[in-house]
């Protein structure tokens, strides 16, 4: 528009260009200077104002930027002579968007379009605004207006996509699709269609209405020629025929596709499904959309008569054999897998023959047994076999492997496959300890022996036999689980560290190590390995589960803060920018992506991890500032006193959650973040299979969010509630505090009790019972921290309400105080005296202690600080008459003394561990690896590594591998573990020290009363 005539927003372009250049090269100060000069010439130009706002926003001056934008907006609205071009509006739009005022940008465009109803460029800008706001109906209306204006195909499709969005992501009923169909149909008659994507949209609208016949007609008509790739067209055709129930025709089409693309497994399943007239492939597709489709093919028991079934299966076999003949030596696995699947279907139909199935599997092994994907390829077929048959199959694989290949890499590949199959069928867990050890030894020997095969590979390429170390590590962890001999655990760590010395890029080793170090209590090392995985962008959503849950209960606050900050930034950025991508998809006429992008954004928006992080971020801030009540109050104020979080807690039950974490990359002993088999007794093979208990996870996440999001508000109310205690005593005739506070706190306490599974009254009985020793801590179960927090908030509430049975005069008050002190003290004393002190022990109770000190104890500290502060009504000067009620003072004094005592116990334990001589710790760790008997027990593999690295053959291994082997030093690893564990303890000690200092100060102050 204007700029085409050398004008930008009504201003000569030569004057604007230097400003944009300065912005692009991030010289904002210079840009500001230039734009200010320009503004003095054109003081009322909305474009100049918008440009200045943009620069100020980039400089972080949001308020000034907003006020300039509003000024520009006003000029646009008031002054009819002002030039209203897209450049001005889009500049304003950018700033409004960055300031989170999308509605104002929309408003500007709406006004402009009202004024210039036939300006296409402005209307596109308005459409863009609605895309950003996800206002599908308004998008549709605007697109229709543009379509009416110029009759272009793309605007029609924009409208149609907007309609589809209403149906899939909004409140629109499916009837809207009839409207969409009508619009396209009419356009086809008058203008036909010209873009392949437009045709795809047309077909999808028909398909969504189950008008398969119509869709097929269109596809085979003139419009079908828009699809230039033959197989793409065939795929749609096959799908439509199958969904229409014309299985015979569909099978023919899928057969054609397989002739063109013989390695297309999905297509083969469609083909077979159609032959057997099974619609499992076609129904429920839109409804269920798990991240990982089930490994097992969905299929129904065939309804066909035996005769028909037999003949169809024999047709399929014949066809598959033909494919096998055609593909020759072309690496196509599908035709061979197809043979196996046919035999498996026969078994499911009750007409199978185990031997034939086994034969097909062996044939596949002979051709592809050396490939890394072999085991996962055949996993689903093994399900039909009994354990005995599985063992028989393994033997047959072994027999046939002997003579297959003379190529060393292939022989190695096959041997690895045999180990993997053994693991898959649960054989490893049946082996006696000695044999399992033997297997691990074999694996590591094989790894070392085959290192020369990787001599000429680039340092970044995966090496031959890398999987062997992962397999050996799995075996060691099982040995540890069975025997509780920590030597196996240390050996697993050494083995993986050794592997990473040889090639530092093996992410599988890194993830295993991350979990091993987490379990061992060396979380700082786990975090180091996590960082080395370079988790960014979408990986933050799919991969953070490896480390986040452990970090949330750790004292590594700085690292946790970074983790949460980076994750939330990625998610928030994506949610903010995803609409830009959607608009880009519109502009590029990639209509299928429009719907995909919107759905994907919704999926991320409902991510369970995102919600957890949004709650845990503020809680971390509250933990970090709890030793200073003023700072804590500033944090609470920034959180609007926790009101929104209470709303989140109320809503979480009805919110839909998505689970986007990739759990497949987790080690077998910790299949989800909630489960760690190593914490319980060995339960054999039944526990080994990887599970994905979604229902359990979902319930767990909901309850965590429900409880945790009450915390900020309860902390706020507790501070308020306790600040009234001494004031009331002091100012008998003075104004009472807000009575709503205790009543709101009571409501939250009642909810909290309910979440813990009790009525309010019963919950009080429980905490009192445990505190006075009538009940054991075990009644708290896994909710210990929540229970103790409950007692803290209960005490705070009782300070101002004096209401419950606790409050029998001073007796009630004193019981509530005593309850908190005693719970904290008793639990800590118990744990500190029972915790192991060896460096090799995992210290599984440490996270609980950390949580205890950083949550309930910290919240109780805030209650005390609040009581104290209320005795000093003005300034920091202590008012001697403040403590009128001496009994209150004595409760606080007792509590402070008790907390000092409790913290001292923790600090003492921590100092003892930290101050242990490093060499002594290293010695202890390494001694767990010492071989006690010949060819038995821990340390065998460790010995192999040591022997291997002490006699390196440079010519055989090549420079790179030899050099890395020479750098291996097991003592360094042991020392790293010791330091890593001490880092965690030191961080915890630092937290305890800070709290201790606070309470010591309070103790001194109270002593002066």
């Amino acid at each position: 528009m204007a700029s085409k005539f050398g004008l930008a927003g009504g201003i000569p372009e030569r004057r604007v260009r230097p400003i944009w250049d300065a912005i692009d090269s991030r010289q904002f100060k210079n840009a500001l200077k230039l734009v200010t000069a320009l503004l003095s010439k054109f003081p009322n130009s909305p474009y100049c104002l918008a440009l200045k706002a943009l620069i100020l926003e980039r400089m972080g001056k949001s308020e000034e930027a907003l006020s300039l934008c509003l000024n520009a907006k006003e000029h646009l609205h008031k002054n009819d002579s002002v030039l209203m071009d897209d450049l001005t509006l889009s500049t304003l739009q950018i700033v409004f968007q960055r300031l989170d005022h999308l509605d104002m940008a929309t408003n500007c465009y709406e006004y402009a379009c009202g004024k210039f109803p036939s300006n296409l460029e402005l209307m596109m800008g308005l459409f863009n605004c609605y895309v950003r706001e996800y206002s599908f109906v308004k998008q549709q209306q605007t697109a229709i207006r543009m379509y009416k204006l110029v009759g272009e195909e793309r605007f029609l499709l924009w409208a149609v996509c907007s309609i589809q969005l209403q149906v899939f992501c909004g409140n629109g009923g499916e009837k809207l699709l009839v409207l969409a169909e009508g619009l396209v149909k009419k356009h086809v008659v008058s203008h036909s269609l010209h873009e392949p994507e437009a045709l795809m949209v047309y077909i999808s609208i028909l398909e969504q209405q189950a008008k398969y016949g119509d869709a097929l007609d269109i596809l085979s008509g003139k419009l079908g020629s828009l699809l230039l790739v033959e197989v793409d067209k065939l795929r749609i055709q096959g799908r439509l025929l199958a969904r229409a129930g014309d299985y015979a025709a569909a099978a023919n089409i899928f057969q054609k596709i397989l002739e063109l693309c013989p390695d297309d497994w999905e297509c083969f399943l469609h083909y077979l499904g159609c032959l057997l007239e099974d619609d499992s492939n076609w129904c429920n597709r839109a409804i269920t959309n798990p991240i990982y489709p089930s490994k097992f093919v969905e299929c129904k028991i065939s309804i066909l008569t035996d005769e028909v079934f037999d003949s169809r299966m024999s047709n399929a076999s014949e066809f598959v054999q033909k494919l096998q003949g055609n593909t020759g030596n072309n690496f196509a696995r599908c035709p061979y897998l197809a043979s196996i699947e046919i035999e498996r279907r026969k078994c499911l139909h009750g007409k199978g023959d185990d031997d034939k199935l086994m034969e097909a599997l062996i044939q596949y092994f002979v051709g592809f047994g050396h490939l890394a994907c072999f085991t996962s390829d055949i996993e689903m077929f093994l399900e039909v076999f009994t354990p005995d048959k599985k063992a028989e199959l393994l033997e047959k694989f072994k027999e046939s492997s002997v003579s297959i290949s003379a190529v060393p890499a292939k022989v190695l590949g096959q041997s690895i496959t045999l180990f993997k199959i053994q693991e898959l069928i649960g054989n490893m867990s049946k082996l006696p300890v000695v044999e399992l050890e033997g297997s691990a030894v074999q694996m590591v020997e094989m790894y070392c022996k085959n290192l020369p095969l990787s001599k000429d590979l680039d340092s970044q390429e995966s090496m031959h036999g890398e999987e062997l170390l992962s397999l050996a590590c799995n075996a060691f962890i099982q040995l540890f689980w069975r025997t509780r001999n920590v030597g196996y655990f240390v050996e697993a760590i050494m083995l993986l560290e050794f592997g990473l010395t040889i090639r530092r890029h093996v992410w599988q080793y890194k993830i295993s190590l991350l979990h091993l170090y987490s379990h061992l209590g060396a979380l700082s090392l786990a975090y180091e390995w996590f960082k080395s995985l370079d988790v960014k962008n979408i990986l933050m959503e799919t991969g953070s589960h490896h480390i986040l849950p452990q970090m949330l209960v750790s004292p590594l606050w700085v690292d946790l803060n970074n983790l949460l900050k980076d994750y939330l930034k990625f998610m928030d950025d994506h949610l903010r920018e995803s609409a830009d991508l959607t608009f880009l998809a519109y502009r590029h006429r990639n209509y299928s992506k429009v719907i995909e992008f919107v759905q994907f954004k919704e999926r991320l928006q409902h991510s369970n991890q995102y919600l957890v992080a949004r709650v845990e971020g503020p809680i971390l801030q509250l933990k970090q500032n709890a030793d200073n009540i003023e700072e804590e109050e500033a944090v609470l104020e920034s959180l609007k006193c926790g009101i929104h979080f209470v709303e989140l807690s109320n809503e979480i039950g009805s919110k839909s959650l998505t689970f986007n974490e990739d759990l497949q990359s987790r080690p077998w002993w910790a299949p989800t973040s909630e489960r760690n088999y190593l914490l319980g007794p060995y339960e054999g093979v039944s526990y080994c299979p990887r599970e994905n208990s979604m229902t359990e996870r979902e319930a767990n996440v909901r309850s965590i969010i429900e409880r945790k999001s009450l915390l900020p508000r309860m902390i706020y109310l507790s501070i308020q509630s306790s600040s009234t205690l001494l004031k009331e005593n002091l100012e008998v005739n003075g104004s009472r505090s807000d009575p709503k506070i205790p009543s709101e706190l009571k409501v939250l306490l009642e909810r909290y009790a309910k979440m813990l599974g009790y009525s309010f009254a019963d919950a009080i009985e429980v905490v009192l019972g445990v505190s006075n020793g009538l009940k054991s801590f075990e009644v708290f179960g896994s909710d210990l921290i929540d229970w103790i927090s409950f007692s803290v908030f209960l005490n705070a509430w009782n300070l101002s309400s004096h209401e419950i049975g606790l409050a029998n005069g001073d007796g009630g008050l004193s019981r509530a105080w005593h309850c908190v002190d005693s719970l904290l003290e008793k639990y800590v004393l118990g744990k500190v005296s029972s915790m192991e002190t060896l460096i090799t022990s995992p210290w599984v109770d440490l996270p609980i202690l950390v949580q205890l000190v950083t949550e309930p104890l910290a919240w109780h500290g805030l209650v005390i600080q609040s009581c104290f502060r209320s005795s000093l009504p003005s300034g920091k000067k202590k008012k001697k008459t403040g403590f009128a009620d001496q009994s209150c003072v004595s409760h606080i004094r007792d509590s402070v003394f008790s907390l000092c005592n409790t913290l001292e116990k923790v600090r003492k334990w921590l100092r003892e561990q930290i101050n242990r001589p490093e060499d002594e710790n290293v010695e202890t760790l390494l001694s767990s690896l010492q071989k006690k008997e010949h060819n038995e027990g821990t340390g065998q593999v460790f010995q192999i590594i040591e022997t291997f690295t002490s006699s390196i053959n440079d010519t055989e291994l090549g420079d790179r591998i030899s050099q890395s082997l020479k750098s291996w030093n097991h003592v360094d690893v042991a020392r790293k573990i010791v330091t890593g564990k001490c880092t965690v303890l030191s961080e915890f000690l630092r937290i305890c020290d800070s709290k201790s200092k606070l309470f010591q100060t309070l103790k001194q102050q109270i002593a002066q009363v």
Binding site: L228, V229, C261, D263, D264, W265, E266, C267, N289, I291, Y292, F331, R333, C334, L337, L371, A372, C373, S376, D377, L457, D458, Q460, E461, S462, H505, W507, I511, L533, D534, K536, N537, I538, L539, E541, T542, G543, H574, S578, L581, L584, A585, H588, N590, K593, E596, F597, Q599, F600, R603, N660, D662, Q664, S665
Partner: protein, 136 residues
């Protein structure tokens, strides 16, 4: 199991094992009219890359009627560079700090049948910066 099909957003979520590989550039959303070539470790050494590249070249030649196919690869990713060279690609130019502002990228090209004189693949003498790259 192998199936070659178009990439979609949800694939980003099941792509972890590939993304974790240190040579894979972890993109955010698979947008822009370009393609990536990534495959999991389990499926290596099966000539899948060759098949995919052939497919891409075929489409670009016959359907998009392009002059050349080009791709970006980390300058340190020697294995991939070697593979692309084997498939007939040449290093057309170096793009400074292309990857996350840190590592250089190599722009590799292969001429298609329409570029009869192979003009599109005459290597540039000097490296370029990312803002010199022309997008549509």
């Amino acid at each position: 199991m192998t199936t070659i099909r178009r990439f979609c957003c949800n694939d980003l979520l099941r792509f972890t094992s590939v993304n974790l590989d240190h040579l894979t550039e972890t993109f955010n959303i698979p947008w822009k009219p370009n393609h990536g070539l990534h495959y999991g470790k389990e499926y290596r050494r099966q000539q899948l890359a060759k098949k995919l590249m052939n497919l891409l070249e075929d489409f670009s030649d016959k359907i998009d009627k392009g002059y050349f196919v080009d791709l970006f690869v980390r300058a340190s990713n020697t294995p991939a560079i070697k593979m692309y060279e084997k498939l007939g690609y040449i290093i057309y130019r170096r793009v400074l700090r292309y990857y996350s502002g840190e590592e250089d990228g190599l722009d590799m090209r292969k001429a298609l049948s329409r570029d009869v004189e192979k003009k599109s693949i005459i290597p540039l003498k000097r490296p370029v910066t990312p803002d010199e790259l022309e997008y549509d």
